[in-house]
């Protein structure tokens, strides 16, 4: 399982041959994330994806530029958006000769897109790329019922009047009711929150610990905005200038008043509330990736190197592991392959699907028994102190437009390590500054990656 693939990088993350040049993060852009039904309610995925690409183009002066590839995805996608990314590129200020394709890996779409494009750059197949993601839960696709769809398809194939009548006759009034998407695991029928409630109970994560993490997310995100950290990472959209979900004035007292929403039927006390869970969100993000040469030729800055990535999946459907626990398995493999420990990272960015998702992962890595029996490690993987974890806030405060979260994390992480590296200049300039990124996703998936200051 932990065997290195043949093109695995050496631990330093530096290129070892001409075929393994570096893939770097030039910068990113995202829209402020909005709550479902909020200011972006009328905006489509294509609207938002185009806007976020245009913001990126404006930030880096890429008008009319042919980018090697733009890859992007949306988790909730209309059928007419079969070529969502290409259509968005055509509507953007990029050259219409810029190729594009769609990607989808549930909530890990954004990070997986970065990883895939970075690999193409490392292989020399691309010199530049934009990895993006977008999602709207406000303009989610509404499907027709299976019966109506089948009847309509039959009708479209029918030739004779009799066949047509027969097809129409098969439609029942209840078939006409639209079917909205539900955020449930198709295999289990449980919502993500219900799944996480099981894992939360299993690891004994307390309400107080979850609320404390949620509060830190809001406090840190607000502080980062106030400090101008997002001035070159966010472009306003539809009058929204900051993440709509952000509550700068949140407090443990306020979070404590919220009634639990998930796990209320479990025998253990319910601890998960709307305050320590991520809301349904609308938004988009994009990351500009390049080879060192392309960035230099375009006089663009280089923030970080995409060092390596690892994906894992868990068998959540048969009760073995929690739905959102896959990153717990991916990270030790990623660290082993790169000869690193958790202590080798200046920053850790863990997507806050729920506060307890992060806390369960931390608990698992600190658990001797679990790490021995399930991760095959000699003992506990280690712990992550909170002053390195999600230092500018994360999804609990910002919101989580599924496919857009990976881009948000990567751009934020790249800027964090670049700033830290700049601070070290003169004192400890040679010390590598790394960030570990972890995203859990529906279907028991987890994608993790390492970035290092360039």
């Amino acid at each position: 399982m932990a065997a290195s693939p043949p093109n695995s990088p050496d631990p330093s993350g530096s290129p070892t041959s001409p075929a393994q040049r570096r893939a770097v993060v030039v910068g990113g852009n995202r829209l402020p994330f909005a709550r479902a039904g909020g200011p972006y309610a009328a905006a489509s995925n294509q609207d938002m994806l185009t806007a976020v690409l245009d913001g990126l183009v404006a930030r880096f002066g890429l008008q009319g530029e042919v980018i090697g590839s733009v890859a992007a995805g949306a988790v909730l996608k209309h059928s007419q958006d079969f070529n969502l990314t290409r259509e968005s590129v055509l509507g953007s200020a990029l050259s219409p000769q810029t190729p594009a394709y769609d990607v989808q890996q549930a909530c890990a779409t954004g990070l997986e897109t970065v990883v895939g494009l970075a690999n193409k750059i490392r292989l020399g197949q691309l010199d530049s790329a934009i990895a993006a993601g977008v999602d709207t839960t406000s303009d989610a696709p509404i499907a027709v019922s299976d019966n109506l769809r089948h009847a309509l398809l039959k009708l479209s194939r029918a030739r004779s009047v009799g066949q047509k009548l027969k097809a129409v006759a098969a439609i029942r009034p209840k078939d006409l009711a639209p079917v909205p998407p539900r955020i449930v695991e198709p295999r289990t029928g449980l919502t993500m929150g219900e799944h996480q409630a099981l894992t939360t109970a299993q690891w004994g994560i307390t309400r107080e610990a979850q609320d404390t993490l949620a509060l830190a997310s809001h406090t840190r995100l607000a502080a980062a905005y106030d400090a101008g950290f997002f001035d070159d990472l966010v472009t306003p959209f539809r009058g929204q200038t900051r993440d709509q979900n952000l509550r700068a004035d949140s407090s443990l007292e306020k979070l404590g008043t919220l009634a639990p929403t998930f796990g209320v039927k479990l025998p253990t006390p319910a601890t998960m509330t709307a305050g320590n869970s991520t809301p349904l969100s609308d938004g988009a993000s994009a990351v500009l990736l390049a080879s060192d040469e392309w960035a230099a030729a375009h006089d663009l800055p280089v923030l970080a190197v995409v060092v390596d990535a690892e994906t894992a999946a868990v068998d959540f459907a048969h009760g073995q592991d929690g739905l959102l626990m896959a990153p717990v398995f991916a990270v030790p493999r990623l660290l082993a392959r790169n000869g690193l420990t958790l202590d080798d990272f200046d920053f850790v960015e863990i997507h806050e699907a729920f506060a307890s998702t992060v806390l369960c992962a931390l608990a698992a890595w600190e658990d001797d028994e679990f790490c021995k029996t399930r991760l095959g490690l000699p003992g506990a993987l280690g712990s992550i102190d909170r002053d390195r974890l999600n230092v500018t806030g994360s999804s609990l405060a910002a919101g989580h437009p599924f496919a857009a979260t990976g881009g948000r994390l990567v751009a934020t992480a790249a800027k964090l390590v670049a700033e830290r590296k700049a601070e070290l200049a003169g004192t400890d300039a040679d010390r590598p500054v790394r960030v570990l990124i972890s995203v859990c996703a529906a279907g028991g998936l987890g994608v993790t990656a390492i970035l290092e200051a360039a």
Binding site: G61, D232, V234, P236, T241
Partner: protein, 449 residues
């Protein structure tokens, strides 16, 4: 925004009605378009007897620009411009002949015609009669401009002693006043202080190869400045506060520039502007301080917050950015600073003590900053807009807005691009001899004469 009145009195039945009622009939102004002739008809060069040599030199230059230059008016001529050369006059008596000759042409000027005087600045060192003659041009020109109709304007170029009519900025200013770029500049006298500056290789792209920063570029006048500088060949970094980022990105993408979300009051704003410009484009040559805010309140009701915010954005930020640019040692390639002042900063405006102080401060600032840049072939100047049709002025109540519009000699408000054209001229290589001056773009508004 749309000036409905202007449209009504210039078309159809309502045009006829306005004529019969004797209502003010503002003319649609002719604005710059690529490829249009510099002047809409023959140019008549008139001169005081003493100024014949300069008039000849000017005429030669105008011919070089491909204009149809005449030295005498004939019956039936419709002139696109009259250039009145008064550079050598030593006594007010010398004005009569050329001025009266000018007057004889005013009935037969083309629409959007230009009257431009060329004279010299009166100083305390002049003989009293010389100073009287030179300064007389001031009142002459301003009054003449108020007589002009049909979108015609009158402006003057005032040369400092030692600056010839062939100095780059003398020619640059003359050409600016003759062209449609100065459509809403009226009744103004612009002083050329030195012979610095260079004439552009391509008059249509005088800013080619220059890197410019425009603050407050997301909308209105700032967006127009960014677009106009880009049209004239500059590479533009469009700056605005992060909250205006969406509109800013659109502007940047339209002009193939770069958007920088930055609050100009940030302590390191100047350094960050410079860093981006140097890294991305290799230099920073032009800074347009356009970002500004209004917090109107009668002084009797003024709050510390409203006062401080206006001063911080409108003048303190400019001072800090300029200082950072000057000490960096990187702002040395014939640099240009163009700051947005306001007619409120010249004539004052009720309820705008804070704004007036900041904008008047801008005028003082450029006067003192320009000499610091001359060693590098640089300069700093200000543009003072009058009533400009923007989202901001659209919020003025209807009656006040109408009065403000009709109060100018051109009987209408200006467009953001009119301000942008003046900025672009002052940012150009040919404006290097204009040192610390203020150019008003107000249609010769009554406010402040």
């Amino acid at each position: 925004m749309t000036d409905t009145y202007l449209n009504l009195v210039n078309s159809g039945f309502t045009k006829k009605m306005a004529k019969q009622l004797g209502l003010p009939r503002p003319a649609p102004l002719v604005r710059f378009q690529a490829g249009q002739p510099l002047v809409r008809g023959p140019v008549l060069v008139l001169a005081a007897a003493s100024s014949g040599t300069d008039a000849d030199a000017v005429g030669k230059q105008l011919l070089g620009w491909g204009l149809d230059v005449r030295r005498h008016a004939s019956a039936g001529d419709t002139f696109g411009a009259v250039v009145l050369v008064l550079t050598a006059i030593a006594h007010p008596d010398e004005l009569a002949e050329p001025v009266l000759a000018t007057g004889a042409t005013l009935r037969s000027l083309a629409r959007g015609a230009r009257v431009v005087t060329l004279s010299r600045v009166a100083t305390a060192d002049d003989a009293p009669a010389v100073a009287a003659a030179r300064h007389g041009v001031d009142g002459l020109l301003r009054s003449l401009a108020k007589e002009l109709r049909g979108g015609a304007t009158g402006n003057g170029v005032q040369l400092a002693d030692g600056v010839g009519v062939d100095a780059p900025s003398a020619l640059g200013a003359l050409r600016f006043f003759l062209s449609a770029r100065s459509a809403y500049v009226d009744g103004q006298l612009l002083t050329v202080d030195t012979t610095a500056g260079t004439l552009p290789e391509d008059w249509d792209r005088p800013l080619a190869g220059r890197v410019a920063v425009v603050t407050g570029a997301a909308r209105g006048i700032g967006a127009a400045i960014a677009e106009t500088l880009a049209r004239d060949g500059a590479t533009v970094i469009a700056v605005d506060v992060p909250a205006a980022g969406e509109a800013l990105a659109k502007v940047a993408n339209k002009i193939r520039g770069t958007a920088l979300q930055l609050d100009v009051t940030a302590p390191d704003a100047g350094d960050r502007l410079l860093e981006l410009a140097l890294r991305r484009y290799g230099s920073l040559d032009i800074v347009v301080h356009n970002a500004g805010i209004l917090r109107d309140k009668l002084l009797v009701n003024m709050t510390p917050e409203k006062w401080a915010a206006v001063i911080a954005v409108n003048i303190a930020a400019q001072l800090r950015i300029n200082e950072q640019l000057l000490v960096s040692g990187e702002f040395t390639r014939a640099p240009r600073i163009v700051s947005l002042a306001s007619t409120s900063g010249i004539a004052g405006n009720r309820g705008q003590t804070n704004y007036g102080a900041s904008k008047s401060g801008v005028i003082g600032m450029v006067r003192a900053t320009a000499p610091l840049l001359t060693a590098f072939g640089g300069t700093a100047n200000a543009v003072a807009p009058g009533f400009i049709e923007t989202d901001m002025t659209a919020k003025i109540p209807f009656a006040s807005r109408e009065i403000a519009r009709r109060a100018s000699s051109l009987q209408q408000g200006g467009q953001p691009v009119d301000v942008a054209e003046a900025v672009a001229f002052l940012a150009s290589p040919q404006a290097g001899g204009v040192v610390g001056r203020v150019l008003r773009v107000c249609g010769q508004n009554l406010v402040g004469a």
